[in-house]
């Protein structure tokens, strides 16, 4: 890439950002170079810690203690934004010519100011508009970002708006001063899939009509595919590959880019195994010398210890690699790597599992095996208390879940998919008897467990375990890994203290791919993926037959996500465990599940065999959901028919009568708004819709 690009709007030149921490200097950016032209959409793609957000913050002048810019330059239309002279110029440019949209629309809006006033303030400060001028412009802006009934919305406070609406308000605020460059830092990460589709469509539309340049920062390759002209891939504080979007997707030149694309599960394809980039993202306290990716790269050789040169790939992309354009990832191994045999605890574990459960292959082959289901749920409903009961009074309750029924067979994975507020987490917790069911029955191995309590419930917990979404919050920061994994064994009196369980724990950790020396370290020493492995080891400690995995990979980076998904699949093959796999990500669910159930606003709208559901969805909501998931492939993504339904997911406290989807459904008629449709259909494909 030429350094002095005449047409470039923004140039970032060998930018370096460092953070002083007690453990040493953390290198946030290590000489990142890129430029954005007028009217261009450039995406920076990278995993956590790669420096993508730091780049945006540096441009916006938001690098604050403990960070500092330690080298390089940022130029806006050829003028530097750094240094004493630059920062004066920068103040005028930032907010006016360069605008920023954050990830979390809730925390970036002032909760005490009305929407209209907040946007108006920007106009009055930067453009010197009068109050009435600002007001009418605010209404125009809200209209432009697709907010219905602008005058009413302008008078509301942020908490009265849904997440998607708030993100629209943020975008309205960002474009208020007619900027030339819009920086969007993970603008849709906090949003549901169908809402994400709406916001992405809005961004693409604005980019066209306002001739904006957009710098999109994301970890999600799918988001990038349909929207961007060029892509810059970041790894360990550097840009490893920059090229046209189609080229980068079709013929990625850098091994990391290749791995990233191959490890992203795709909705339109379901190879059973994902490529996983082994190892963890680099420790930015001491990034590897030379090419930072070499420690995880299958192509690495001696010269990779030298700084790689910037070269042109076959497609004309700029790549920082010694061996560009070589295929780095072969066909992924179908079986887990051979494990070193330990003290036999693991073998014993496998042996103990087998008689209790039917082999996974058999369960999957015969779609309805003549075995009794491990778990049966019938008409499950859960109410939440919305006000505390006070001293004598009764709590006010609202229904969060209603009429959920499904079976889970031994060795099977049932994917439970839904957006926020759909009740998918509630279902998982209710099945585990963590939440009380207000109606319906739950059977575990034929036994009614809906009302078991006390010791009986504690015994039941041995058989069913939970893997958590957040690998950071779910491990007690003040306990060693050994104690964390031993906790279930101690709680059930299997061992008296964690030292007694040391051999078993080591074996469990080996099973999930962690080394022996992990036992005596604290959680902070591990990366997200490694922590999730600890969480899985803890869930396995009591040899459960059934695991509820509540969004186990959604907090992980793409390359690490594949590792954990593969691990869960391997464990199922070997131990025959059944999973209730809860997720909002339809692509991951397609990879891991045998059957899939779709939830919407506390109701199950469709349940079917995986392929049947993905190939022939029947409920209009399922169709919308599937079409909203971005596919990480530009041509496919552009060619796809997108069903973007207007409107928001109904709030749990204001559920509509009848079918909960009728407000957004194109098929809805009077009957839908009056009567809730029952779940019906052929045995392996049930749907709750009056029209299908």
């Amino acid at each position: 890439m030429d350094m002095i690009n005449e047409g470039a709007l923004l140039e970032i030149d060998r930018l370096a950002v460092e953070f002083d921490t007690r453990r040493g200097v953390v290198y946030g950016l290590r000489g990142a170079t890129l430029s954005i032209g007028r009217g261009e959409t450039l995406a920076i793609v990278g995993e956590s810690g790669s420096g993508k957000s730091v780049t945006a913050q540096a441009v916006m002048g938001l690098i604050d203690v403990p960070g500092r810019i330690s080298g390089g330059d940022i130029r806006w239309k050829g003028e530097t934004l750094l240094g004493p002279h630059g920062s004066r110029a920068a103040r005028d440019i930032r907010g006016k010519e360069i605008a920023l949209v954050f990830q979390d629309p809730m925390t970036s809006l002032n909760p005490l100011m009305k929407i209209g006033v907040q946007i108006g303030e920007v106009l009055r400060r930067h453009l010197g508009m009068s109050e009435s001028e600002a007001h009418s412009r605010v209404l125009e802006l809200l209209e432009a970002v697709g907010i219905p009934a602008p005058p009413r919305r302008a008078a509301q406070y942020p908490h009265e708006l849904s997440g998607g609406m708030r993100q629209r308000v943020m975008i309205a605020m960002a474009i208020a001063c007619e900027p030339q460059l819009l920086i969007a830092d993970e603008p849709t990460t906090a949003l549901d899939v169908t809402i994400q589709a709406q916001v992405l469509e809005l961004l693409a539309g604005l980019q066209q009509t306002l001739k904006l340049s957009v710098l999109l920062i994301t970890h999600d390759l799918g988001v990038v595919a349909g929207l961007c002209h060029r892509i810059a891939v970041m790894y360990a504080g550097r840009i490893v590959e920059t090229g046209l979007a189609d080229d980068v997707f079709n013929r990625p030149a850098h091994p990391y880019t290749q791995g990233l694309i191959r490890s992203t599960p795709r909705l339109d394809d379901h190879t059973d195994r994902l490529v996983s980039i082994e190892g963890a993202p680099p420790n930015m306290l001491a990034p590897p010398t030379g090419c930072a990716f070499r420690v995880r790269c299958p192509l690495a050789e001696a010269r990779c210890e030298q700084e790689p040169p910037l070269v042109q790939s076959r497609t004309g992309a700029t790549v920082a690699c010694w061996r560009p354009d070589e295929a780095a990832w072969g066909i992924p191994a179908a079986t887990p790597q051979a494990r070193v045999k330990g003290n036999g605890y693991y073998d014993q574990m496998v042996a103990e599992y087998q008689p209790a459960s039917v082999p996974a292959e058999a369960a999957a082959a015969a779609s309805r095996p003549p075995v009794t289901p491990l778990l049966s749920v019938r008409d499950l409903g859960v109410d939440y208390e919305v006000s505390s009961p006070g001293f004598w009074g009764k709590a006010r309750k609202i229904s969060a879940l209603k009429g959920i029924s499904f079976d889970l067979y031994p060795g099977e994975t049932l994917g439970l998919v839904g957006e926020s507020g759909s009740g998918k987490t509630t279902t998982g917790r209710a099945v585990l008897r963590r939440l009380e069911a207000s109606e319906g029955r739950i059977y575990f191995k034929g036994q009614d467990i809906t009302n078991v309590h006390g010791d009986e419930l504690r015994q039941l917990r041995r058989k069913m375990q939970l893997v958590f979404q957040d690998p950071y919050a779910s491990l007690n920061p003040r306990m060693k890994i050994l104690d964390i994994v031993a906790e279930p064994l101690i709680a059930h009196g299997v061992v008296r203290n964690s030292d007694e369980a040391r051999e078993q724990i080591t074996e469990l950790l080996r099973l999930v791919g962690l080394s022996r020396d992990a036992t005596d370290r604290f959680p902070y020493a591990f990366s997200g993926g490694q922590r999730q492995r600890v969480g899985i080891a803890r869930a396995l400690a009591l040899k459960p037959e059934f695991i509820v995995a509540d969004e186990p990979v959604s907090a992980l980076d793409v390359s690490v996500r594949a590792q954990v998904v593969n691990l869960l699949q391997d464990l199922q093959k070997e131990l025959g465990i059944s999973y209730l796999f809860i997720a909002h990500d339809l692509s991951v669910v397609r990879h891991i599940s045998h059957r899939v159930a779709i939830l919407y606003s506390g109701r199950m709208v469709e349940i079917a065999d995986r392929d049947s559901l993905y190939e022939h969805p029947r409920h209009p909501y399922t169709e919308a959901l599937l079409s909203a998931v971005p596919v990480p492939h530009p041509e496919t993504q552009r060619a796809r028919k997108r069903l973007v339904y207007r409107g928001d997911i109904p709030d749990v406290s204001h559920w509509p009568a009848g079918c909960h989807f009728h407000g957004r459904c194109p098929l809805a008629d009077e009957r839908c708004s009056l009567q809730a449709p029952p779940l019906q259909g052929k045995a392996d494909h049930l749907v709750a819709c009056w029209h299908r």
Partner: protein, 319 residues
């Protein structure tokens, strides 16, 4: 957010050496700790340090000023009081009462308050409602009235005072702990413990309590200053330490009639109280920052930046 992930580690278990280095860098925190340690040593070794018995009266040497004032002598460095008792010795011995009352009250009120707060926050529902209403009632009840009531029934004395002060000070622990427990309860690791089948007591003491230690430590230290002041006030009112025992508060009370004649009678015990409270606050402030991972990183980076500015090595630190 890459920045946060890099710069905010989860509260890591504290090892000694880096902590010491950090304290060394923060001069005001270090000063606070030093004075606290000196005061403790002074209280423990009072009989060895004090030149006189604090209770022995000497009519011949009444109201002698400190040695640097005209009329003072090196025999009584800080002068004598209206009964001829050595002020320096009284200040040294007075530290014993103040520190003893301070630590015992914090320990007693802290244990009681923390336990109630833990159960209120963890059990929730009616248990919570009952305990927190108890707290409300105790907070609303005038503390001084309660003290007067108890003291007039039981009679004044050190033990009485400790119990009484504990009775009027436990509520703040209960409230703080309950609030934090409510948040920790929601955390995934507590849910994980419950899901694996841990019994409530194990969850409370193994998973919840250890994660309360940092805020509790800070609160306990700050409360200590309140108790030292309360002890002084009670002794001043004649409800606390009874002669011939001594405390700083008692001496301030005794000296008030002579304020225009012998200023040193109230100045030195008063100064002792002020210095103790101040140094504890300095140390507590350092501790508060240290136990908050994010604040701690910021402090570190600011120090680094200051060092860099001092060494005047402009822009040579490139990646």
């Amino acid at each position: 957010m890459a920045v946060l992930e890099i710069s905010a580690p989860i509260t890591r278990p504290t090892r000694l050496p880096p902590i010491v280095v950090e304290l060394w860098r923060d001069k005001s925190g270090l000063l606070g700790l030093t004075i606290i340690v000196l005061l403790l040593l002074m209280a423990i070794f009072a009989p060895l340090l004090a030149p006189y018995d604090p209770a022995v009266q000497a009519v011949t040497t009444r109201l002698k000023p400190p040695f640097w004032v005209e009329g003072g002598s090196m025999a009584h460095l800080l002068g004598t009081d209206q009964l001829g008792r050595d002020v320096l010795s009284r200040v040294i011995f007075g530290a014993r009462a103040s520190l003893l009352v301070g630590t015992s009250v914090v320990a007693l009120a802290g244990t009681f308050g923390v336990l109630l707060g833990l159960f209120a926050g963890y059990k929730g529902g009616r248990t919570d409602a009952i305990i927190m209403r108890l707290v409300d009632i105790q907070v609303a009840f005038p503390g001084l009235l309660l003290i007067l009531l108890i003291v007039s029934v039981v009679g004044p004395g050190t033990t009485t005072m400790i119990v009484v002060l504990a009775c009027t000070n436990w509520m703040i622990y209960a409230r703080l702990v309950r609030g934090i427990v409510l948040t920790i309860r929601q955390s995934a690791y507590v849910e994980a413990a419950e899901m694996t089948g841990c019994k409530p007591n194990r969850v409370i003491f193994k998973h919840v309590l250890p994660n309360l230690s940092s805020p509790l430590l800070t609160l306990g230290i700050l409360e200590f200053t309140n108790v030292v002041l309360a002890e002084a006030a009670m002794s001043f009112l004649g409800l606390g330490i009874q002669p011939p025992a001594t405390s700083w508060g008692l001496d301030v009370a005794n000296g008030r009639d002579y304020i225009f004649v012998a200023w040193w009678l109230i100045t030195f015990p008063g100064l002792s109280i002020a210095v103790t409270v101040l140094s504890i606050n300095l140390f507590a402030n350092w501790l508060r920052v240290t136990t908050d991972p994010q604040e701690r990183e910021k402090r570190f980076a600011r120090q680094k930046m200051a060092e860099r500015r001092r060494s005047r090595s402009p822009l040579i630190s490139k990646a």
